[in-house]
Amino acid sequence: MDKALADFVEMLRYSDVPVSISESVDAAETVRLFGYKDRGLLKTALAQVMAKTIEEQESFDRCFDEFFSYQINPDLAPDETLDEEGEETGENPDSSPEITPANDDDNSPNPASGGGEGGGGFSGEQSESGSAAPLLDMLERNDRTELTMAMTAAASNANLRNIVLMTQRGLFTRRIMEGMGLDDVNREISRRNKEGDAEGADQLSGRLELLFDAVRDMVERQLALTSSGKAKQFRQDILKNVRLSNVEHRDFKYMRQLVQRMAKRLTDMNSRVKKVKNRGHLDIRKTMRRNVAYDGILFETHWKQKHKDRPKVLAVCDVSGSVASVARFLLLFLYSLNEVLPKVRSFAFSGDLGEITSDFDRLGPEEAIPYAIEKYGGRSTDYGRALEDFKELCLDEIDNRTTVIFLGDGRSNGADPRIDILKEIKLRAKRVIWLNPERKSVWGSGDSEMLRIAPYCSTAETCNSLNKLELILRDLLKSN
């Protein structure tokens, strides 16, 4: 695979297009088939090989345009200056004997010309890069391909890919130019000036300026590409760890995506368990196989119907004033769960408890969540009453496949939390999970009933960031 493509693949991976190894092999094959000439065609073809969803396709299109605009067709210097000074190419004072493996065959320098002073000029700072392409020579000949190759090589030596911050632009531009042999060109310009060849000096510095622009462009693009990808990743990581109450409204959308992805993964993990039922359609194949030994008389039967053990979830969310700051997110989690899991019944309470499943089904999250808060929130919490209501509504429905999730702080304003009902629920349900936005150290302080509640839950955990939430749920499902 050529280096340009490898870089492109890496760039895609940063931009949320997860290109697997087999896909990049296909991409290399595609490039071999199509070549870089017809860019539109190549884009279409590569997109089908590498981008596998519509969102990925969008990222891909953006990356492709950005990336290949300089990789393949560099706008280095205007064409008209091409042949003007062909005769001067004879003298090329610098050419270093060492070439990096990265800029392999295309720009091998003329080994014959005297390379004495060339190597020393820029070896001070960039000694590790070793990319001492005969820049002057390339500029004189105005060889776009070689210049681009040298530029890419110098960029990779300068680790341009690691650029993250805006403030690094100047540094990287400088490093790349120096890596390409800027010092020698500058020396040549001043030599020409001294010798009175003002025209030659101007032309060279003009071309150098164009090269500078091209490098600057490249750095800009790289910054735009990597930093956007990295910044997004960074942001998601932060979001997962930030306390739920601190997340601002503008992050709500991201949050929702995260929750959705998480909830989906949880269901995928959990809905695999299956049992074969002993009724329904006969699985003739299996039955036959079992009964060959009995002379084809079918007395060991196998049945086709399998039972998918989809988890049944009852979720109860506290939306009272004490948890107001996190209620939105607890509800959001509930909402996403409702979207992904087929059998979720959601309830909200502060004083009275009510079912909000149908509201969730009917409304989008932007409406449903404020609606639920408005409808059930605002009153002071009474866990006792809520549990009584809950018992009345759906205790009969709780069986050994049901998971009951409580989201709340367990502060009952002094009212009896009716631990006995919780105990009853615990006895019937497969598991009872209590997620509390408060830290464990304050459990039991003031009107918090958490210390009484916790023994009757399979799990009672602090849950104040998405990361925590994810960890808790994953552990739970693993131990399933």
């Binding site: 697997s20 036959m288 084809g296």
Partner: protein, 315 residues
Amino acid sequence: MTFIDKDPATAIDLIKDGFEKAGYICDRHIATSIYLSQKLDKPILVEGPPGVGKTELAKAASEILAAPLIRLQCYEGLDESKALYEWKYGKQLLYTQILKEKLGDLLEDAVGLEQSMEKLHQFGDSFYSEKFLEARPLLQALQSEEKTVLLIDEIDKSDHEFEAYLLEILSDYQISVPEIGTIKAKTKPLVFLTSNNSREMSDALKRRCLHLYIPFPDASLERRIIQTRVPELEENLRNQLVSFVQQLRTQDLKKLPAVSETIDWARTLMLLHADTLEVDLVRNTLNMLLKFEEDIDNMHSEVPKFIAAAQSERM
């Protein structure tokens, strides 16, 4: 269809022309994926809203490649015995019966139990052999001597497990039958998988396929499609009709009208001998385009506006 050895651009144009002759108007994207799938031996996962011609694509491909189409319609609960293979139980049972009857003759000269067993083991065991294998669509496609087009329709309706069965076929064009071993494709079929995205396909499956997304066509493409499919329709009306549908698609509807609905509507208008769009006519036939009562109600008042816009738009 001999485009394989041509250079990509020519080959893709050839494919496009071929599709057009088969009555399927496609853009470069689609032609490119057909070319790529032939070159890279990869299946194509076709996604897009319902009614944009995903299944038609496979049918047209089978036509231009002159390869028979084998179609597998996916649904929840589809399993390997319906998609891959099944044993011919009846014949297997008969076989054991025959074996029992013949056993005496066969073991005639054997002395003692041990010798009989040895003799028995010498016969080929054909109870589980290809003779008793009933090929279902996927196996048929692999067993076919000539090239086939395999259409796995609405893969998103199938279960996760079925998706896993498919992986072996999609990457290596082979399937494993536990009792026999691996059956490899005699000729690699051209495989299309279509999905309406009612559920996300697994990464493993997506990785093995080329991904082709067919969106709603733009106005000029749609006009050409209508021209090909309903050639009797007058040009003026065709332009108005396409413009009208395109406007509908910008609205917030439960289900946007797809190409197939545009074609149906064009046929309807032709049957009614319409020569221009009229408010009443459109309102009465709106149910050809919109499939939800709510959508029809919402669009009822918009109809005159759209018609005016469609008629003022001179192509």
